[in-house]
């Protein structure tokens, strides 16, 4: 019975597909991007055969939390991690001249405070859990990285996520679903490693928080499309500018990180007075496969490709958000 169960689960998981029915479009994207790297690849090195242990995966997660914490803290408060929270790193974080997001309502500000505190906590938890094995913060780029990503995603030649509430949502969107897939991918790997099971509980609890965040950002993008809709006495037409931008990012992540994306379904225009029976399209707040509604998992290597902003290929040691690569043993792309 258990063998059968395992086989069925394997089979089901292998059926995960991105954007059912848009395979052709996706294929075009891949073909288009394979010839044009997102950012300049700094250097390449021969690819060793890696053998990672649980500490390597926790440090990998810590790098991602450093990135998220620096982004959200700077957006919410204008200042990044304190020296103690970086392991007294001598590295730098490259950012625009101002990062405090202007013009936020109290409600929007409350979201930023919460998420930034959550990510700061995750840095502190992982650093504490790793003890002397914790890597210090690597160099992080929150300026050129976004510009390059924007160009690659065809949403403009430059992009500043600290410029406005909506730009912040797009910046957050870039990170959150990736965090979920990274933790999810690490979970089953951890379980198979000696000593790895001990970390599963905490990893699952952090992953869940990332999923709350991801849903929050995706929901806020849809809510914003309604808040900024063009309205007449008889018709509401949501403004999908930022929803479409997020979807361009999603398609880029798909291309860079081994597929596994769910784009946001824009809310269609609706007539007033609203008649619910004539209007039943489902949203797609959750990023998951459409058959089983199981969230996507990514390998560490796929995540590296996304945060470095480089398409498939081995030996890439950094780029994008981590101009000199992640700290720790998981840092060079393998495939």
């Amino acid at each position: 019975m258990d063998k059968k169960l395992t086989e069925l689960v394997d089979k089901a998981l292998s059926r995960r597909v991105f954007l059912a029915g848009s395979g052709a479009a996706a294929a075009t994207l891949i073909a288009g991007c394979s010839s044009s790297p997102v950012v300049t690849v700094p250097t390449t090195t021969p690819t060793p055969t890696p053998s990672y242990d649980p500490v390597d995966y926790l440090n990998f997660a810590l790098n991602l939390e450093y990135l998220e914490a620096e982004f959200y803290l700077r957006a919410a408060t204008g200042a990044g991690l304190s020296a103690a929270d970086t392991g007294n790193a001598t590295t730098t974080v490259t950012v625009p001249s101002t990062t405090l997001v202007p013009g936020l309502t109290a409600t929007q500000q409350a979201y930023l405070y919460e998420i930034s505190q959550n990510e700061l906590d995750h840095v502190r938890f992982l650093r504490s859990a790793l003890g002397s094995s914790a890597v210090s913060r690597p160099n992080i780029d929150l300026l050129n990285s976004f510009n390059s990503l924007a160009a690659a995603a065809n949403i403009g030649s430059s992009f500043n996520p600290f410029e406005s509430y909506e730009n912040f949502l797009i910046g957050a969107f870039i990170f959150e679903d990736v965090g979920v897939t990274a933790y999810l991918g690490a979970a089953s790997v951890l379980m198979a490693l000696s000593g790895g099971s001990a970390y599963l509980g905490a990893a699952a609890e952090i992953m869940a928080v990332e999923a709350y965040h991801a849903a929050e950002i995706r929901t806020l993008l849809i809510a914003d499309s309604v808040a900024t809709a063009s309205k007449t006495a008889t018709m509401v037409t949501p403004n999908n500018t930022y929803v479409n931008m997020a979807n361009s990012i999603s398609k880029l992540r798909y291309d860079l990180g081994g597929g596994n994306e769910t784009t946001l379904t824009p809310l269609p225009p609706y007539a007033l007075p609203f008649v619910p029976t004539a209007y039943t399209p489902a949203s797609s707040i959750v990023a998951a496969d459409t058959t089983n509604s199981i969230a996507f998992a990514r390998t560490a290597d796929e995540v590296l490709h996304i945060v470095y902003g480089v398409p498939e290929g081995p030996g890439v040691v950094g780029g994008g958000f981590f101009p000199n690569g992640m700290s720790g043993n998981i840092s060079t792309t393998l495939r």
Partner: protein, 329 residues
Amino acid sequence: MANLETKLIDEVIVSGRRKMLALGGAALASLAFGGVRVVQAASYTDSDILNFALNLEYLEAQFYTLATAGTTIDKLKTPIGIGAGTSATGGGTVKTKPGGPAACLVNWTVPAIQAYATEIAQEERNHVTFLRGALGSAAVAMPNLDLYTSFNTLASAAGIGASFDPFSGDDQFLIGAYIFEDVGVTAYTGAAGLITTPANLAAAAGILAVEAYHAGLVRTSIFGLDPTGSVGLQGGTQKISATRMALDGSATVDDIGVGFQTTSTEPASTTLEASTIVDAQTGSPNYSKTYSRTTTQVLQIVTGNPTAPAAGTKYQGVFFPNGLNGLFS
């Protein structure tokens, strides 16, 4: 039974600690095991855990399908089986409000919320279908469910009124959804530690993430409709969270409603008014991790029983008037 169970858990903890200490972290041992609690059954398989999850997915799928389609999952144009194993029929019944399933169709006034509800309904149905397919002949039937008096009972217990109809409007629907979603997250997080094969863990963790997406979606929508707490939705969620915490018997906080919290982010001397979209306390000692619940704690919440039933009998009541099906019941 308790002795064997205790022994098994002790072994897991001891071997786990030993490995972690070898990796160099006494702090890690206490941190990582903060959420581990004793499980209920002495001997169980992955199938038992997935069947426990299936009971919860039946409940969620029926709730959302009633709200969005006005029917039960076994009566849809493409019906979903509710019987034991692979059989379509033979499962329990769903108690609905007077007027039957059709009366449960919410008269949506906010298009986005209708779209969200429609999405969640489909995803919960997919979870039922997936788990039934994965379990095959071992799948348990849907137990009897109560989606009528259950809400009234909970509302009374939570102090949000003598009766509560989650199908009576957008706001009420969100509160109804709120009752389920965070519990699903904590149930899967707790169950993840019991699963023994990586493939099953990948599936369970993948469903866990989706439940967390749902919870985030529901909580964000509630906050959006009641951003200052003046509408009463925030207060409702806080009372429900307090009720869940009272039912599961946790000695420490393991559930917080939608509202505000004071944080000190950075610089540390400044206090800031943050939201509580995520169901997790910030700062030490929880460090913004969601909570885990044991199968027993989840049973206590979904059946409304803070204490264990007589030996050999099931937890019964509220959403599961005759208990859950399967080992964890």
